[in-house]
C-alpha cells in the first residue's frame, strides 16, 4: 500500500463517519483527480487482498466500513456483545447523569475519579442517555438521561427521582478542588492553623 493510501485509510478509520473527499484531498495536498485515483487504488487493495473492510462512496463522501460479505456475521457478534448486562460502574455513571444532568463528560470523570468516556459511549449506544448542547461551551456536550430511561423506571420527569431536590444540589467535588489548591501552594494557611 502506498503512503497516500495508508494515510487515507488511517484518517477514514479514525473518523468512522463519511469524510468529504475534497476536504481530504486538500488535507493531503493532492488534486481531486489524484484523490479519485488513490481511492480507486485503496478499493482495489481491499478487494485483491480479500480484506474485511471496504470503501463506500456516497455523493462527495467516502467511508470505511466493514465488508458487506460479513454483514450478518458482524451483526450477530455485536448483538451478542452489546446486549451484555451493564456493569455496576456503568450504572453508577448512569445515576450521576440522572441526578446531576446536564453534565459534561469531564465532570463525570471528576466525580468518579476515573475516566468514563467508554461507559458514557456505551450508555449512549443503548439509548439510556442523550447528548445535549453545552450552553456554556459550544465545543463540548452535556449529557442527560433519556425519556425512554425515565419511562423504564415508571416516571415521566427527572424531578420524580427519589430525593431529587437534595441530591441534585448537594455540593460535590468542591472539597477535592479546595484541597488541591491547598496542597499546590497555599501552605501558609496550614502553618497558621498549626500555630
Amino acid at each position: 500500500m502506498n503512503d497516500k493510501c495508508a494515510k487515507i485509510e488511517a484518517i477514514l478509520f479514525a473518523c468512522g463517519d463519511p469524510v468529504d473527499k475534497e476536504k481530504l484531498a486538500d488535507f493531503l495536498k493532492i488534486s481531486k483527480k489524484e484523490m479519485e485515483a488513490e481511492i480507486a487504488t485503496l478499493k482495489e487493495f481491499y478487494i485483491d487482498n480479500k480484506n474485511g473492510l471496504q470503501i463506500v462512496s456516497k455523493g462527495n463522501t467516502i467511508q470505511l466500513v466493514s465488508s458487506s460479505r460479513f454483514g450478518k456475521f458482524v451483526a450477530s457478534f455485536l448483538d451478542k456483545n452489546v446486549n451484555e448486562p451493564l456493569t455496576n460502574a456503568a450504572l453508577e455513571v448512569l445515576s450521576i447523569i440522572a441526578y446531576r444532568g446536564p453534565i459534561t463528560r469531564s465532570q463525570v470523570d471528576y466525580i468518579r475519579g476515573v475516566n468514563c468516556s467508554f461507559m458514557i459511549r456505551n450508555l449512549a449506544i443503548r439509548g439510556l442517555i442523550e447528548k445535549v448542547e453545552n450552553l456554556a461551551n459550544t465545543r463540548s456536550y452535556e449529557y442527560v438521561v433519556s425519556y425512554d430511561f425515565l419511562k423504564s423506571m415508571g416516571i415521566e420527569r427527572i424531578e420524580q427521582l427519589a430525593d431529587y431536590e437534595l441530591l441534585n444540589k448537594t455540593e460535590i467535588g468542591q472539597g477535592m478542588k479546595d484541597s488541591v489548591d491547598e496542597i499546590s501552594g497555599n501552605k501558609e494557611g496550614k502553618n497558621k492553623e498549626a500555630k
Partner: protein, 234 residues
Amino acid sequence: MYQIKTTQFEGPLSLLLELFEKQKLDVTKVSLAQVADDYLAHLEDGKNADLANLSEFLLIASSLLLIKSKALLPLFEFSEEEEEEIKDLEERLREYQKFKQASERMERIYKLERVCFSKEPQQKLTMEFISPGVSKDDLNRLFIGVLKEIPTKKELVQEIMEEVISLEEKMMHLKYSIEKRAQVAFTETIAKAKDKIEVIVTFLAMLEMIKQKTLVVSQRELFGEIIMQAKHKD
C-alpha cells in the same frame, strides 16, 4: 546552593538522587555518607521544615544519620537491623533511579505524538433502547454510593499532609524547656514522642540550636545521655 522544590511531589528519594547526580556518584553506602550532609542541610533549613512529606524526609534522614555516625566513628558497628535499613535505602534509591530514567525515556516517546486512534463510533450506531432493568430505588442507592466514594477534603488533606511537625515548633519547645530548667536530658524531651519521626525532629531541632549557638550539649560517654544547657550570650 541547590533548592528543593517545595511541591508535595518531590520526595526525599528524588532529593537524594539529585544530590548523587550533582556529585556524579553511584548509589553506594560510601557515597550515601558523602551526600548525607547536604541532605541534612536541606532539612535543617527552616524553609523546608514544613514540607508536605516531612515525615518521609525524616525517616530517610534517620538512616543517613546512622551512616554518618559510622563514617565519623570507625569503631561504631551497625546492628543487623541497621545494616538492613541501610541496604534497604540503597535498594530503594537504585530502584527509584531506574524509574526516573524510564520516565525520562517515556516522556521522549510521549512527546513524539506517535498516537494511535481508535475508531470514532458511527453516528448511526445508536441502537434501540435497551432497559437496564434498574428501578428508581436502585438508581437512588447507586448515586448515594457514588457520593460516599468521593474523598472529602478532610480525608485528602489528611492523607497527603499528615500532621506536620515543624522543626521550628520543636525548637521553641526545647528553648522553653532549657530556659525553665538548667539542664535537660535528651531522653526526657523524647519521652512522650509519638513515633520515630518525632524523635528525629527533636534531634534535628537540637542540632539546629547548637548551630545557632543557643544551646550546648555534653555527653560523657559514647551513646550516653545527652545533656542540654542553654548557652547565654555574654
